[in-house]
Chain length 106, copies 2
């Protein structure tokens, strides 16, 4: 049975945001993104895939299209296909996100 | 900006497990499943879609294929396309799951 405890998949890198896969399939990515204070995923877009972020721990500053918002633990946000998106950890605490992307980019 | 607070999407029904959509797109479902004690999603399968459950609150007894396991807050599990899966709330507490399915069934 393929179960994972999120906290077991949490690890950080001093160099940059770390992506740790919980599950990978032909249809989707399901990852933990782990950001130390000051780290970010720069704004980018996927033409054919949606991405959903769920804040599992901490607070992140999300950019979706032209808008920015701080989201905290228990918040979720979608970046629909083609829409530029990114996230920064502007806080002084660790940030852990559960991130789904579908369809899985080739 | 399409953000949702999970707790704002949590609501239960005395009749059966409640599915509340956080996001819906051509590519995926992203739902909160809310189960009172004794409620369940019976075992079923989707031929072409994967489903990932993340336990946001409580404890659930998951069936994936021939296996069963209790998962608690912070655990995630995948039911790959074609594999029978379901979940029961055998506990005495409310159960809230974040559920992703992709690709979105027609």
């Amino acid at each position: 049975m393929e179960s994972k405890r999120l906290e077991d998949q949490v690890s950080f890198s001093d160099e940059k945001m770390k992506k740790n896969a919980l599950f990978d399939s032909p249809h989707l990515f399901y990852d933990a993104y782990c950001l130390l204070p000051g780290q970010s995923q720069k704004v980018h877009a996927h033409e054919g895939s949606d991405k959903v972020y769920y804040v599992a721990r901490g607070t992140g500053c999300f950019t979706i299209g032209e808008e920015e918002a701080d989201l905290a633990e228990g918040d979720a946000i979608i970046a629909r296909a083609g829409v530029p998106h990114g996230v920064r950890n502007d806080s002084e605490e660790e940030l852990v996100l559960l991130v789904t992307m579908a369809p899985r980019p080739a």
